[in-house]
Amino acid sequence: MNVVETIGLGKRYGSTWALRECSLSIPAGHVAALVGPNGAGKSTLLNLAVGLAAPSAGGVTVLGGRPAGSPAALDGIAFVAQDTPLYKNLSAADMLHLTRSLNRRFDQRYAESRLAELGIPLKRKAGRLSGGQQAQLALTLALARRPRLLVLDEPVAMLDPIARHDFMATVLTAAVDDGVSVVLSSHVLAELERVADYLILLSLGRVQVAGEVDDLLGSHRVLTGPAAEADKYAGGLRVVHVRRGEAQAHLLVRATADDPVPQGWEAHPVGLEELALAYLREPGAAALPGPAHARTLQPAGSESSEVTQ
């Protein structure tokens, strides 16, 4: 089952496309990270998926074909929006009561014990909680709904490192112990390395990379060798991104561990953050399942790229 599936999805605000021709499917059972620079369309995509916004083009379904925003979809999805909006004048207990009243399922016992663990007083107004506590309260409300899909829009952007760590630990627990599928957007790449096992990279309103993290890491290598030879090999290899130093050049290439390495070069496995950064720096490159996005290699410059399947 795909928790989110979009076909030719587009959203236009006025004359500007915030997202266009977005076709992707996020399979269930993952913590999927939606990564991209500001304005790439991350929030737009998530808003479309949870039914807050209506598509200008194409369509989006969730939880195995339910139209986004339909009662069946809302029932199975919990959404924590950017900046975790809560009613500031309501107490934590009131927020629990409110969420219980607005949903068919609500695990009151889970919510209360979770808030007790976090040391969030039930009687305190949401507006008087710290940023980290507000985020945790919003997450607790979402998880107490026992959703099958948890959608988080920039959940940790405003949090300090400890709050960020605690928040992500809660998300991971839900994903691992309760089998909740998670889709989260973030531009904190380091955090994603720890939690995400599925990556979607958005750039300029289009999907650039989509796939399981293990597959992506397994199909990319970093080759390090003399800078002078970089251009020579760049043409023959499927290079995503070239980073040049004084003496050495680092080529992120699409290659498995079994692929041959040129003489005098070393191959290293790539990290998720490095991979994401490389693609973000090359908006023209793409790594997608499905049809190839072919593009010819640019003339050798300081950076060059090839688009591969």
């Binding site: 807050l52 029932d75 959404f79 929006a81 909006p85 309501l90 009131d94 009243s101 949903n103 068919r104």
Partner: protein, 349 residues
């Protein structure tokens, strides 16, 4: 495979059963209790004041009509006493602000605050569903404030009762028309209807403008325009007005327009009539040469070929007018709320 099918069909089945409407009652109360409490306080203070003043008014009225002979100095004093009590409330204008204050301050924030603070992203992604959430809230609040307005307009009816007795004019007591601007829509069903309309306009303005304070201001402006249009233009045309040249109109008649005509049928201004009286009439009729005011002056003018045509609405049309005005305000309110819910539903965010 079998297990999967069962799980799926259960889920399909469950998805047909939405979150019960009644659960929104607590949500609405909890989120709007300050606004509703404010309305309750405002109306309670007003009710207490009007009840105390109303007791005095009724007392003074009883004393004035019991006084004999009516033309005596003592009776004139009692009549003046009645006319003076609750002076600033006598024309009803201060109370005209009540519906829009309630409507704007309760109605405009319902959606505007959610949109302004971003909490709509919480509220509209819960299992209850966004349009059901909107409809439930708006209907519950609309019923609550319309009911409160209906209750206080019963008090208004009692308060203004003495003014509408048909013998008032003969006793030198104020006798406004029940249809008069300022008084008509405080009684009957229209007070609640205007409050409801203000609320509905506020809700729609909140959805359109998405910010609380501008939405309240817009509501006040739209409502004021509508109230002036209704009082100054629409209400006079609910039913075809009566035209008469009688000089003996009851004090309760609501005069839409009045005009003197000369023998040839062309209209004559009051200053021309004043000059005519000054020139021709005996001094006791001509007065100081101003606008003719007494019945005997009018009769003198009629004897000399002038005719006064009056277009008016008789007081007996009070209830038909109440239902007409209440009806179109209810229709307008339903329309505003329906448009608001439709906008929320089609995800205009």
């Amino acid at each position: 495979m079998t297990a999967l099918t069962i799980a799926d069909s259960q889920e399909q089945d469950a998805s047909l059963r939405p979150v019960p409407w009644r659960l929104m009652a607590w949500v609405t109360w909890r989120q709007h209790r300050f606004a509703l409490g404010g309305v309750a306080v405002l109306l309670s203070v007003l009710a207490a004041y009007m009840w105390l003043t109303g007791l005095q008014l009724h007392h003074a009225y009883a004393a004035a009509i019991a006084c004999h002979p009516a033309s005596s100095l003592a009776c004139n004093g009692l009549a003046r006493n009645f006319n003076n009590i609750g002076g600033f409330l006598a024309n009803g204008f201060p109370l005209q602000a009540v519906p829009v204050l309630i409507g704007a301050f309760v109605g405009a924030p319902v959606l505007a605050r959610e949109l302004e603070t971003g909490t709509f992203r919480y509220a509209w992604t819960q299992g209850f569903g966004r349009w059901r959430w909107t409809l439930a809230k708006l209907v519950a609040l609309a019923v609550a404030i319309a009911a409160a307005a209906g209750v206080i307009s019963v008090l208004f009816s009692w308060y203004y009762q003495p003014y509408f007795a048909t013998t008032n004019q003969n006793l030198g007591l104020d006798e406004p028309s029940p249809l008069a601007v300022g008084l008509f829509d405080l009684r009957g069903v229209t007070f609640a209807a205007w409050t409801l309309a203000a609320f509905a306009i506020g809700a729609l303005a909140g959805m359109l403008i998405r910010r609380v304070v501008p939405a309240i201001v817009a509501t006040l402006a739209v409502y004021t325009g509508l109230a002036f249009a209704a009082g100054g233009f629409l209400r006079g045309h609910y039913l075809a007005p009566v035209v008469t040249r009688s000089l003996n109109l009851p004090g309760s008649a609501w005069i839409v327009s009045q005009q003197w005509f000369a023998r040839g049928g062309h209209p004559v201004s009051l200053s021309v009539l004043g000059q005519f009286l000054q020139r021709e009439a005996p001094p006791q009729l001509a007065g100081k040469g101003g606008v003719p005011q007494s019945v005997s002056t009018w009769q003198y003018l009629v004897q000399h070929g002038y005719t006064q045509w009056t277009i008016y609405q008789p007081a007996s049309r009070f209830w038909p007018f109440q239902w007409i005005e209440g009806g179109w305000l209810l229709a307008l309110s339903v329309l505003c709320i329906a448009v608001t819910v439709w906008m929320v539903r089609r995800r205009a965010v």
